[in-house]
Amino acid sequence: MSIKNAAAIVGVGDVELEKGKVKDGQSVLQIQAIAAKRALEDAGLTKDDVDGIFVAGLWGLPGVGSFPSVILSEYLGIQPRYTDSTQIGGSAFEAHVGHAAAAIQAGLCEVALILYGSTQRSEKSRSLAGRPPVLTAQYETPFGLPSPAGSYAMAANRHMHQYGTKPEHLAEIAVATRKWAQLNPQATLRDPLSIDDVLNSPMITDPLHLLDCCLVTDGAGALVIVSAERAKDCRKKPVWVLGQGESHSHWSIQAMPDLTVTSAAQSGKTAFEMAGVTHDEIDVVQIYDSFTITVLLTLESLGFCKPGEGGDFISNQRTAPGGDFPMNTNGGGLSYAHPGMYGIFLLIEAVRQLRGECGERQVKDAKISLVNGTGGTLSSTSVVILGRD
């Protein structure tokens, strides 16, 4: 069973940031409401059209359960007939796209709203501390592994050991991504960046330097996905969901079968087969860049290159503006924004590229885009392939 062409993204919305923070101390509910309204306006729809709601959040009311999807729906005045709060980390929103398309195809909803928001930067709520040492975390937290960076660092060290990958390779990714950010007025970091700058930035957890790690920012985003029938009446041209796949291989990096291969090997295969497109047909890719190593492992796992060849693949600024493999064109989690879970922003950028709305950073004639989300400690992945008429 395939969801190909059953549904289209017709609206996207987000909020402006100032130095990585939302304006005027806005709350996590306020920014999601603004993003939702902008996405619906973009689509030419109203909130009364929405009958499916998809929310993953790290926020909630303190107490039993966190219920972000229910609280947010109440705040927005939406009573859905289809609801999904799948929470698998940063890749949740790519999963939501597939789930929404399936629900639409099954006739369970027609107009789905996917939402995310975080004010983690304003709240200063992030640290490198692990989770409380209960259940499966009791075998991890007592040893002081920086969370989550230490797990990604272990994957990087293993890749370097097996394949001879160098810190310079990882730095290439940060530098190319910064060049895209310089073309995006909304990006948090826009100063020029060199490979030496990355290698000379403070070591956080070997072999990952500060500039190998994503930003810690606020942010909010929204997507509107509708049936093919409803897409005909929308304000913007549809961006079709051609294929989607999802998986998770482990929670703790201790249980990851091979630290050099993510479950994008599976979720990507599913998405490619469903879409019926080849790697060569992808015009622009958005790959989750929580850390530089995340990108390198994902490109290999998706089959853009062979295992171990990721370092060579991204060399010579191949993924930068003007390169033949445009990637993370908004400046990525490394330089644009990373509000805890970043997956929805990859989708928003892919839609804007396919619509030709990206101004200076527009990839010429982009028709098909691949979006990959990665969550946890390389734990979950979801891949969406999008295309325009």
Binding site: S127, L128, A129, G130, P132, P133, V134, L135, T136, Q138, Y139, E140, T141, P142, F143, G144, L145, P146, S147, G150, A153, M154, A155, N157, R158, H161, P202, M203, I204, T205, D206, P207, L208, S252, I253, Q254, A255, L259
Partner: protein, 136 residues
């Protein structure tokens, strides 16, 4: 200012035998009596074949470093004063992996595939399994 205490394991139905073993300087892992595979962390059933016939066995305590990182800033405030220190995934000879710290070594010399052995270290009321290089 309150002293920042390091997080210690909170034992449960899966783990209390493991932590008790550490107190007796034994590194206990599980083995499935149906598919013969070793298991870590401990579970009520085998994640390979779903058998409930899992039993505790003592590991040789020897293995090698599958991968590692050097925490330069510590994993949160309680570990800040210890930095830099090595956190590693140890692959035991029985084939399972576990987190630990590599001690009794210059952290700059920690590397993948380095042979290591368990050494038990007291931390408040707990004994944690740590690993050190095997010197031939």
């Amino acid at each position: 200012m309150a002293e920042l205490k390091k997080p210690l394991p909170i034992p449960d139905g899966d783990s209390h035998v493991f932590w008790q073993g550490c107190k007796e300087n034994k590194l206990l892992i599980q083995k499935c009596n149906d598919c013969s595979k070793h298991i870590f962390y401990p579970r009520i059933l085998c994640p390979h074949c779903f058998s409930e016939k899992v039993e505790w066995v003592e590991s040789t305590g020897k293995g090698k470093i599958y991968s590692y990182t050097i925490a330069r800033r510590g994993g949160g405030p309680a570990f800040k004063d210890d930095a830099p220190y090595a956190v590693a995934l140890i692959e035991l000879d029985e084939g399972v992996r576990m987190f630990s710290n590599i001690i009794n070594i210059d952290v700059e010399k920690v590397k993948c595939d380095l042979p290591v052995e368990v050494v038990f270290e007291e931390q408040e009321d707990f004994i944690l399994p740590k690993f050190q290089p095997i010197f031939n």
